[in-house]
Symmetry: C2
Subunit: 314 residues, 2 copies
């Protein structure tokens, strides 16, 4: 058996079995990374589904029960409850266990989780930059992480062997791995993910409150651009609430810059300054080219996905 086929963990415990937890299960089974995968969820329906779908051999009600004998614990709950979860599982973790998470913010997770980790347990925060607007245990699939980045935020005292093992784990789930500090992660994600989501949520709600344009019209003519915003605004409300409450500083800084820049565009429109508008739009277009070249998207034209059953997807 070559190293790349080796089982890496005897027992993985997934604390929370939503979109990310269930996708980790699928991808870990695909790559044969674990002898056993167990999970926990406070919601009975989620536990039933997770077992019925074979995502976990056993779904526990309490996280403390799921982590017993696990050598990898992945925290997949909304970040707002991670402190409570860490406090609960801390006394039940065995020495040598790697504990990681998949939260969209990192400094707050370090603040909330690290104090509860016992001596000998390796806590290494993580964040796979992958997702869909779906949630729940049925939403996961093995390919979610393929070719996507996973950011890990070790610190100066992180055990090098444990870090190398966690890196390999994510690579075998399909990801590329990048290391950075929790604070830098939070700044990068504020602009690449958190503020875009906030803006998407916001414009969808602005549209909903117009008296002179009906909801039906907004929906009918959404192919003009609005639809792309609703897609990302469909993400889980609780997860996103916790993201914004836990990355307040970086998000407020980025929002401040965004608003200043938007005011400049608004002013150019008001005073008919076409030169400024064209220049700023052309700059944005060139950044798009960079993303295509970096392989994070395709140049294939997007002409709106077809309603199900009416043809192939673009």
């Amino acid at each position: 058996m070559s190293q790349s086929d080796e089982v890496m963990f005897e027992r993985i415990a997934l604390i929370g079995v939503g979109l990310i937890g269930s996708s980790i299960s699928h991808a870990a089974r695909r790559a044969n990374l674990a002898s056993d995968i167990v999970g926990s969820s406070a919601t009975p329906a989620t536990r039933e589904k997770a077992e019925a779908l074979g995502l976990v051999s056993k779904a526990f009600e309490r996280a403390a029960d799921a982590v017993k004998d696990a050598d990898l614990v992945v925290l997949c709950t909304p970040v707002g409850v991670l402190g409570k979860v860490a406090e609960e599982i801390g006394p039940h973790l065995k020495p040598g266990t790697i504990v990681t998470d998949v939260g969209s913010v990192k400094a707050a997770v370090v603040r909330d989780v690290a104090p509860h980790m016992p001596e000998g347990v390796h806590f290494i925060p993580g964040h796979p930059i992958a997702g869909t607007e779906q949630s729940g245990p049925e939403a996961g699939f093995a390919e979610l992480f393929d070719g996507r980045w996973c950011i890990l935020t070790p610190d100066a005292v992180t055990d090098r062997m444990a870090l190398a093992k966690l890196e390999t784990f994510w690579q075998r789930l399909g990801s590329k791995v990048e290391l950075m500090s929790p604070e830098h992660h939070d700044l990068v994600l504020a602009i690449t993910s958190h503020v875009p989501h906030l803006i998407a949520f916001n414009i969808v709600n602005t549209a909903a409150h117009l008296a002179r344009v009906t909801d039906t019209e907004v929906i009918k003519f959404s192919a003009g651009g609005f639809r792309d915003f609703t897609r990302i605004a469909a993400s889980d409300p609780v997860m996103w609430r916790d993201v914004f409450l836990n990355n307040k500083e970086a998000v407020l800084e980025m929002l401040g810059r965004f608003s200043e820049d938007l005011t400049a565009l608004q002013r150019a429109i008001r005073y008919g300054d076409g030169e400024t508008l064209e220049r700023l739009f052309a700059e944005a277009r060139s950044i798009r080219r960079g993303i295509i070249q970096a392989g994070q998207d395709t140049a294939t034209p997007d002409f709106g996905r077809r309603p199900s059953g009416s043809g192939t997807q673009s």
Copy 2:
């Protein structure tokens, strides 16, 4: 030959052969709507490509030459030059000809074009809500309008027969047709298309000017949401400049509302008001459901389109 197979026009003239003009050519040929299609472009390279691709039997330099003997003229240039184009072609239009356009604003087009239309010519403004972020004559394809809405904005004196014929034309190109006033069109599109594009252009530029986050990082981690914004920010800068200069009032009104709403979210983040955040996010999610039910998008998870060659597209 059944009515739905009939040639509708002896000669269609496409003034401008970019994404929309070339797609009209493809779709009109697919449905056998014209005996002949000619076009015009001020750009020699565009004329060469349009002829080489067979989009037009002849590409003229001057719009006035292209419209001679045409019984349907479709203006497909950026809206900023439509007044000039109308002035140029006006004297060369034959009575009974239908003139329409595909511009993203409608009141300004009526203002600029209508005064140049001679007696007996039927000017009926139009706007197909379809597009990709690509531009140029190679970007078009026959399926662009399939299942999408096309808005026509006739007025009280519009000839009913000409209107019915233009409606049939768009339906045979694949579209569904909706009628409304130019002013209402501009309000609806301000929120469903113009403001979303402005915001997309803006956040891409905000990201580009950050000192503490590198462009490489923005691009690398764009799958977190930012990528969806860059896609629509890749659209043609000149076309969009003209849209904003020509739909100033409605765009400024919508931007004002958007900014007020964003300030409320920003305040909720600053003061840790999780209840408000969760409520507003949940409202946005329910609007997304409406769009899926209306068939304007699919519920299939979007897990990021794959770089070309690495698998199927989602």
